[in-house]
Amino acid sequence: MARSARRQPGLWNFCTRPDITGTVHAGMDATRVSDEAGRRAAPAVAPTDEQLMLAVRAGQREAFADLFARYREPVWRFFCRRVQDDSRAEELAQETFLGVLQAARRYEPRAAFRSYLFGVAFNVLMAWRRKARRQGEREMAELDPPARTPDQDAVLWVRRALAELDPTDREVLMLREYEQLSYEEIAGVTGVPTGTVRSRLFRARLALREKLVGHPAPLGARP
């Protein structure tokens, strides 16, 4: 796959250096193992996201490179599905990672890094939407034909159906379906109670179910 074949000089070398899968970085004393021990131990335990982020907080840029390698694609897809064009999504993804990097000194592992990261991404997105509204910029390209996927008809239907949802319901649904966040993580990202997340998610899915009826492609795929 193109994603796995894509190797960037410099940063990619950080991500794929030999010790990354078998050791943790300096600064994570609780789980530190030597390179030698890492080679002997099988299977090796990769550092968690939170451990990497603590290493970033301690000043290790290599740990951030690891985190970036893990979440580059998820964050990119997060923005890619929510903004008009790829260049904008690229800018916002870059802002998200730089925001995490700049705020690393204040990071405290109170929750999963994943939800923290998407919380930052969500705030970047909200800030951009406010700015876009002021400037009259379109947020989503609901009707633009998708160009990156083979099944354009199904994708177009999905995008149209999502665009017709209530914006808050849509955001909850997308965080669940595409970012695979738990109800509690979604509540943390969007700042609403968990029960509200559940009700909004249910409402959005029922609305999509209604839109599903009458659409040839999804109906044909139904059991």
């Binding site: 970036f68 730089l98 990097l101 199904a154 239907w157 559940r198 249910f202 999509l208 179910r209």
Partner: protein, 394 residues
């Protein structure tokens, strides 16, 4: 008679998402085996999720990796090169949740410029026209400093000056300002249709005061004060109490304008610079904003600077002068208020900017007030919006 369904519909969804506790998940699982309706709902929900999977975004562009790599190597201190201007904190309101235990040193530099009552040319007339005591509820404005200049002792000294010989200087300096502000007031026509007992007396007092203040208006402007010296600026400070009084009395254009001029003439701007080292900048900012709200003050301007581990927040705070001590007491609970060096040129420039902005606001306010008073003779519109000219209310 109806029987209650043992499983809520959204519980079916939560079960499919793995969000139910084990005990409840067992109940739903057993129910799905016996209930056709819930089973159909579960199938539909699965189908919705399967359909959404059709939208797969592409891979991240190589440029994203290169840009982040470049920024990472440029440093983590906020100097990293980015493709667009980097919003410091307004874009990340959730950061404080993650930074409560941050031990980094953050500084909050605040500047208060307190408007204190100035010696009026005709104290009885001013008090009568303004409908209040001259030392009651004037507004406050702040400027952003380059460095702190004053300590907590400053408000006391200001009050001492206000009550002592300093008032004479303030009165002289303010004479031309008052005259200038009063010029349009004298041009306002008297309302012919409004009748109330207090109006003729106030109008007469205003005219008398305007006449008294007219000669200094023709005098040459006072020379500019040296940098760092306590400055005074004329401004149109219009407390809510005055506006409600204006509205309640149904004042017409001439009276309202004269009344506003009287309040403006009775106020002078004095800066107080404060520096508060805070352990958590975000927490301190929230506390200050809450304090401002509780005292009916507001934040006029705020900027962030500094490096990642030592961010600096500079803000212009506007607090009613009558509540300055209360406000300072609140600030003391946030940290130690440090005494800094004398005001530099940047501070003086910022304060001058603030003063000119206030003057512009005062002019706009005068025009607005005159228009409202002409349009609404009963003054009800004024009662609905007692703060039409607040600067960036937050």
């Amino acid at each position: 008679m109806t029987t209650r369904h043992p499983v809520e519909r959204d519980e079916v969804m939560a079960y499919l998402d793995g969000e139910l506790p084990a005990e409840r998940a067992g109940v739903v699982r057993a129910h799905l085996e016996t209930c056709d309706g819930c089973r159909a709902l579960a199938d539909d929900l699965r189908q919705v999720s399967a359909t959404l999977e059709a939208w797969q975004a592409g891979d991240a562009p190589a440029r994203l990796t290169q840009q982040v790599e470049r920024a990472m190597h440029a440093g983590t201190d906020g100097t990293a090169e980015t493709s667009r201007s980097w919003p410091r904190w307004p874009a990340f309101p959730t950061f404080p949740r993650w930074t409560l235990a941050a031990a980094s040193l953050a500084g909050a530099a605040l500047v208060l410029a307190v408007v204190v009552p100035r010696q009026p040319a005709a104290p009885d007339a001013v008090a009568q026209m303004a409908g209040r005591q001259t030392n009651e509820e004037p507004a406050v404005i702040g400027g952003v400093p380059g460095a702190p200049t004053e300590t907590l002792a400053r408000p006391d000294r200001l009050r001492d000056e206000e009550a002592g010989p300093g008032r004479t200087e303030g009165g002289v300096a303010g004479a031309s300002d008052r005259a200038e502000l009063q010029a349009p007031a004298r041009a306002e026509p008297a309302p012919p249709t409004v009748e109330r007992p207090a109006a003729p007396a106030q109008a007469t007092a205003a005219e008398r005061r305007a006449t008294q203040a007219a000669p200094p208006a023709a005098a040459p402007a006072p020379p500019a004060r040296p940098v760092g010296q306590a400055r005074e600026f004329a401004m149109a400070a219009r407390p809510a109490a005055d506006m409600s009084k204006v509205a309640g009395q149904g004042a017409a254009a001439g009276e309202a304008a004269v009344q506003l001029e009287a309040v403006a003439a009775a106020s002078a701007l004095r800066p107080i610079d404060l520096v508060i080292p805070a352990a958590d900048l975000d927490e301190a900012r929230r506390s200050i904003e809450e304090l401002l709200r509780s005292l009916d003050g507001w934040l006029a301007d705020a900027t962030t600077s500094g490096t990642g581990d030592e961010p600096l927040w500079r803000a212009e705070l506007l607090v009613p002068a009558g509540r300055v001590e209360q406000f300072l007491d609140g600030l003391r609970r946030l940290g130690t208020l440090d005494e800094g060096p004398p005001a530099d040129q940047a501070t003086a420039d910022r304060l001058a900017d603030a003063a000119s902005r206030l003057e512009r606001e005062a002019g706009a306010e005068r025009r607005e007030l005159a228009a409202i008073a002409l349009r609404v003779r009963s003054g009800r519109d004024l009662a609905r919006d007692p703060h039409p000219a607040r600067i960036n209310p937050r």
